[in-house]
């Protein structure tokens, strides 16, 4: 099999492959930068928690309208924002730390979501919500994902400075500006938006993967923030492309294949990355020999 047949032909021959590719590129563009900031703010697991939190909203949308894009998206956003704000409020007004209240919120949400989907009596639908269908992206879904990517990039550009400052030195930001809280809220909203966009394609469970894995991998290759984000996007785009090819050639389920490729990129980065990677333990450092 020549490289063209292997690497390019599937996307030329099949529209669904092109759609899946465009969808995963859009997810990469919006999700990877958000993932980098989540990682830098030590909120990597928050994304996972929020992904679960979205489920009941999507489930309510599903309950009323079936696999309807608008209903599930709206439901997901409402549920995600509710949990993010609710957990934040409880953390600020009680003795409970934010991670603990978030954990409480998302677990309740997850149980509620599974309950609501099972009310409708069909548990296969739950699997579709949990795992998504990257191979079946219609026009409306693609537009939604692309829209979310656009909004994310523009919003990130706008809140860039305070967001970076808040990552580095939140106390300093507080002393010079009152933009800390709104920045945080906008950022949380972006995270929810990207997860909601991601769950149409990859499902609520795997949507976090395209966000966090490239971010964590990029950390091993770049010190500077812009480079790190650019790298994360490139890695996420590559994961989407290679994952779809993997699914096309081996018959592996498409969504998990994409995330697994991202996982392989991550493991490779952990091993070989020049910045803090494991390489320094097993590659002999030359100047000591001299």
């Amino acid at each position: 099999m020549n490289p063209y047949d292997f690497l390019i032909a599937p996307f030329i021959e099949f529209e669904f492959m092109r759609r899946a590719l465009v969808g995963s590129f859009a997810l990469a563009l919006g999700g990877a930068p958000v993932g980098v900031f989540l990682m830098l703010r030590r909120m990597s697991l928050t994304g996972d928690a929020m992904a679960h939190a979205i489920l009941p909203g999507a489930a309510v949308g599903f309950l009323f309208a079936g696999l309807n894009l608008f209903a599930m998206t709206t439901g997901g956003i409402v549920a995600g924002v509710t949990v993010a704000v609710g957990a934040g409020l409880i953390a600020r007004s009680t003795g409970l730390k934010e991670d603990a209240s978030l954990a409480a919120f998302y677990l309740v949400s997850l149980a509620l979501g599974v309950l609501i989907v099972s009310i409708k009596g069909s548990n296969i639908d739950l699997l579709h919500v949990l795992f998504g269908t990257v191979l079946a992206l219609d026009d409306a879904t693609l537009i939604l994902i692309a829209l979310i990517a656009t909004v994310s990039l523009v919003a990130l550009a706008i809140i860039w400075r305070p967001l970076v400052l808040e990552c580095v030195d939140p106390n300093y930001l507080r002393s010079v500006s009152r933009s800390g809280a709104p920045t945080h809220l906008v950022f949380l909203a972006l995270m929810v938006l990207n997860l909601v966009g991601g769950f149409h394609a990859l499902g609520t469970l795997l949507a976090v993967g395209i966000m966090m894995l490239p971010a964590a991998a990029a950390r091993f290759w770049a010190r500077e923030l812009t480079a790190m984000i650019a790298l994360a996007i490139v890695m996420a785009v590559f994961s989407g492309y290679a994952g779809l090819l993997l699914s096309y050639h081996t018959g592996a389920a498409a969504g998990p294949a994409i995330i697994l490729v991202a996982g392989i990129v991550y493991v490779g980065s952990v091993l070989l990355g020049p910045i803090g990677g494991l390489k320094r333990y097993f590659v002999r450092v030359r100047h000591l020999e001299a």
């Binding site: 529209e15 548990n123 296969i124 079946a136 081996t250 018959g251 389920a253 969504g255």
Partner: protein, 300 residues
């Protein structure tokens, strides 16, 4: 005095008998289609509970504690067998039920699941549980159900035999209707893509070929390779119709139909009945609905 005593005894006997008649035999059927068959044979003498509700999927059912209680109370538990209800054994054990377990497909010749892999390897020898998609098999189901009900409730023998005979007649009518309808479709057009290959028995009984984009069970997610294969096949063989199914992902089917120009047929029911106000509220309604949908999509 004696006459009064006799009358009193007679009265007591009668009231016991009528109380018994009112007390229906509690039985359980694992899924909606089987439940409908049991209802038709049992009539008023049995109270049928169904575990997997209409539109649910019996392959991946998650029992609730209420289901365990239903099972514990049942005198007879009807299951399809041939590997459909993998979850049932544990549920029966856990519930401590002493009910008789009846495999409705006893005597049905099971088919192997057709699993054509693109590379011709990895043929899994799995049996196809969807035997009810052939009316001839359902006649065996009905006989098994009748015999099991008679064994559990001998007093109702006459009623069960009468119900079963009547129902078998209706099944024969449906069967000939299906065969006549298929005969009107040109032989070259008898090919359909559907999202769940539950129609293996239907295919071999009535001569319509079904091609599925997913594996044997709804548990497996379709890969890009599967979808690509289906699209190539539709294009190459000019398959006229694609059918959605009530429990699998409709978005994937729509994408396939859009990409190939095949016609999207209406909803057909394979693993479960629709709700009571749906088009497939009973087994017979389901079979009639399905064949009408197939014929309409393949007709023009």
């Amino acid at each position: 005095m004696l006459a009064r005593l006799l009358a009193a005894m007679l009265f007591a006997l009668l009231s016991v008998a009528s109380a018994r008649a009112q007390e229906k035999l509690p039985v359980v059927a694992t899924f909606s289609i089987l439940g409908d068959l049991v209802k038709n044979v049992g009539g008023d003498r049995v109270a049928v509970s169904t575990l997997v509700q209409p539109n649910g999927d019996a392959h991946v059912f998650q029992p609730s504690p209420a289901d365990a209680k239903t099972i514990a109370d049942a005198k007879v538990i009807f299951m399809n067998g041939i590997g459909l209800e993998g979850w049932l054994d544990r549920l029966i054990k856990a519930s401590g039920s002493k009910g008789e377990v009846v495999i409705a497909t006893k005597g049905v010749k099971p088919h192997e699941m057709k699993d054509d892999d693109a590379h011709g390897h990895a043929h899994e020898h799995k049996l196809d549980p969807h035997a009810w998609q052939s009316v001839a098999n359902v006649k065996i189901y009905v006989a098994n159900i009748r015999d099991a009900l008679i064994a559990a409730d001998p007093a109702g023998r006459e009623a069960y035999e009468k119900n079963a005979a009547g129902y078998l007649q209706r099944l024969s009518a449906v069967e000939s209707e299906i065969k006549e309808t298929v005969a009107k479709i040109p032989a070259t057009k008898r090919r359909i893509i559907t999202s769940h290959d539950a129609f293996g028995y239907f295919a071999s009984s009535y001569g319509i070929e079904f091609i599925a984009p997913q594996g044997v069970s709804t548990e497996s997610e379709a890969s890009a390779r599967d979808v690509a294969k289906i699209i190539r096949q539709i294009r190459a063989q000019k398959i006229p119709a694609v059918f959605l199914e009530n429990i699998s992902d409709p978005r994937l089917m729509q994408q396939i139909a859009k990409e190939t120009g095949a016609k999207i047929g209406g909803t057909v029911y394979s693993d479960s009945l629709s709700g009571t106000d749906g088009p497939a509220a009973s087994y017979i309604a389901m079979m009639e609905h399905n064949i009408r949908q197939f014929a309409a999509a393949l007709a023009d």
